[in-house]
Symmetry: C2
Amino acid sequence: MNIKTLAAQLGISVSTVSKALNDSYEISAETKKKVLDLAALLNYTPNAYAGSLRNKKSSNIAVVLPEVADSFFSQAINGIESVAQEKGYHVIVYLTHEKQHKEQSILNDFRNGRVDGVLMSLSSETTSDEHICRLKDKGIPLVFFDRVPEKMMAASVVTDDFEAAYKATVQLIGKGCERIVFLSLSDKLAIINHRVEGFKKALSDAGRTYHEHMLVNCSLNEQQNYETLKAVLTRTERPDAVIASAEKTATDIYSICNQLGLNIPADLKVIAFASLPIAALLSPPLSTIVQPAFEIGKTAAALLFKALEKPGFKLKNEYVILPSVFIERKSSCP
Amino acid sequence: MNIKTLAAQLGISVSTVSKALNDSYEISAETKKKVLDLAALLNYTPNAYAGSLRNKKSSNIAVVLPEVADSFFSQAINGIESVAQEKGYHVIVYLTHEKQHKEQSILNDFRNGRVDGVLMSLSSETTSDEHICRLKDKGIPLVFFDRVPEKMMAASVVTDDFEAAYKATVQLIGKGCERIVFLSLSDKLAIINHRVEGFKKALSDAGRTYHEHMLVNCSLNEQQNYETLKAVLTRTERPDAVIASAEKTATDIYSICNQLGLNIPADLKVIAFASLPIAALLSPPLSTIVQPAFEIGKTAAALLFKALEKPGFKLKNEYVILPSVFIERKSSCP
């Protein structure tokens, strides 16, 4: 089965079939449909044309995200859309709700060409990469952003997680904090691990010893999380500062402090990795490490379109690091 | 071209073709594929089978939203997913970014069976309903929530917008506010118009006269919006209270008050239609009219699946109103 068989069965020239498979403007929509339908019916997998056939088929790119309730992801979507709109593509959003099995099921769904390319941020549960490899094997371009896989070669757009956590820790040490706790989101995510490493390095550079109780693993269960954080803030040796690795954790800390009658920043200083546009309106205003969410989305989408447009482009070698910005507000200032 | 032609060409029985088109468990995946592929190739449009053929094809339902940065929509998505997961469906999210042309283009894309059903909240720009009618004509079930079309018969899940705005206005009048302003989002959305009607009725029931300057139309341009709101708060006859019909408008008001040195609630009382989980953490805590976002999403999805599962179900007659809850906090209390 090759392009000649297709041409013969349809009674048109090989060149017309080739152009139709390439979505050439010289070929009518009707002819293109005939060619693509027969190719599908006969399970014909074009070789050289695989790229362009797929490229033009759906005009959709997928964004696979753990959630949208976080400001980082909603801003990243806008960055992605800013590129996709220009290219005439729809952006469709799939949510994993932080579940590996949902992520697997969504990616499996893409293997039949439903989308032309995928932008993705891993779920905090994901440990396997089989579903990712299977998608890559199908030749569907894939770019990770923020929550990227550590063990495989994959196009990635990230921020300076190690440095940002290092700097935040140094800030808190400089303000005399003695019992700083890092609130992690998952021990499976590379970005969180980099942040934890930055935290540890800052402690060690200040001549301090890292202890396990300085790292608190938050869970995905909202109620359980609240209890965990409350237990941390009622320890005998109560922390005098926290670095939260997610927006939601930081606002939970605010609620718990209100409930326990603890004053931020007098009793507890708070710095959070957060893209919350209203951080300055909280009581007190929240010090944030702001990732350039829009830029991250935009950069990841630009890489994906490079791969869609240039067949020889080696996507997997791309690794972009964009800097975050620390904004100090009252929550970390005495 | 009918089911018999398909059966003859494939060399199988009419009953087998029928069952394959119905996605019967008695038929192998291989046979189903053959039948569906040939049906597609020959542009065969099944009549009685159209429903079930389409129903089982994608296992995707679409959610078409203006944006995800608003807490209402992110919570509604979770409500939708809670139903879809149980049914083994993926939820895919399309964003219109409040543009009618994007909404049209997205809906056009659905007409080839990409999704089995659609849940939708209108863009604030949408005035035409042609794209909606075309989708309905294709027999793809469609349920609106929150921002529903007013002029057409369509399944809708909404909240008590008129009553909620009425009550909020009565509250503010009761606290002695003399110059209450309603901050609208769009004059094209039925829900906003219902809220404006509730506002006007409360004024008139209190023996007050409604004037045009009491209604401020916010735009979609963020910068322009900020300027509009700032102009309102620096009027000679400055309002002493605002009712914001969206979360973002309320937080903009907070920022502008900070900038102008106005105290909430002393100088300006604020009540907002908002599902912001951190309303209580703002400075000062924000009084909110909370729509049951999760329940709205869940109810809309349940209606959609009823239509997908019961071919005779008259979706368009469904109209569900769920009550909102007023939570008074410091922003509206002297």
